[in-house]
Amino acid sequence: MSVLLDILSWLLLMAGSFFVVTGGIGLVRMPDFFTRLHPSGLVDTMGATLIVAGLVLQAEEWQVSVKLLLVLVFLYLTGPTATHAVAHAALVGGLKPWTKGKGKDQD
């Protein structure tokens, strides 16, 4: 049973890590600020969820699991709010979004 839990836990951790790494690659590959916001969304939705789910299976006390799940709840509430604030600030600050026709990256 515990071996089964370990295997499941590791699968979740690996899947979560995949999304975190993909988010990181996206941050490098995307052309401008606004498009970079999207891959970073991978990190704090699927990445965080899968990693916390994997850690919950590793927890030995129920309290640790509860605290991990609370971390996830607060991440879901604060993540989008922070992203919205940053994106809105960029737009108000006069940053023009990159569009496909433009061709050149404006790093």
Binding site: M30, P31, H38, T45, P80
Partner: protein, 160 residues
């Protein structure tokens, strides 16, 4: 005023529940201290006039719980889409910035809709006004899916 009492009770229950979950103490003496402590916090919150339908949205809690599983499925789908966009060679993105209509009647509903849009990778809300939300999407498909209005209608249903 009757509604206000419901919000205060809901805040009290949430605080005490959080206390129990985080502390893990179940001795009578400590439980009594916790009950007093939570009552004190609710009293302070009442004096600050921050106990309202936005902090304690009890009127939509059940409908919100039926919306969240649907949102979770959308998030998983969007994650896979964005991961594919990120990793595939040639970077198949076509970003677009556009206002989409938001039919929610309350600020709370608009915030839930805007937060759902941002929580779904591939679309980020960049401005919100009553009646409309400005969205930056990574692909035209992502914007088209949002413009179909499925999520908008579901958040409206959450509002009741």
């Amino acid at each position: 005023m009757g509604g206000k009492l419901v919000h205060a009770i809901s805040l009290y229950a949430a605080l005490f529940g959080l206390w129990l979950l985080l502390s893990g103490f179940f001795e009578p003496f400590l439980l009594i201290l916790a009950l007093v402590c939570c009552a004190f916090v609710v009293a302070i919150a009442h004096r600050m006039d921050v106990i309202d339908h936005e902090g304690q949205p009890v009127h939509i809690t059940w409908r919100l719980l039926t919306y969240l599983p649907w949102l979770a499925v959308q998030i998983v789908r969007a994650n896979i889409d964005v991961a594919r966009c990120t990793l595939s060679p040639g970077r198949p993105i076509d970003p677009i910035l556009k206002w989409v209509p938001a039919g929610q009647r309350s600020d709370l509903g608009t915030v839930i809709y805007a937060n759902s849009i941002t929580l779904t990778p591939g679309t980020v809300s960049t401005s919100a006004e009553p009646g409309r939300i400005q969205v930056h999407a990574l692909t035209r498909d992502g914007m088209a899916a949002l413009e179909k209005g499925d999520m908008d209608a579901r958040v409206r249903a959450v509002e009741g």
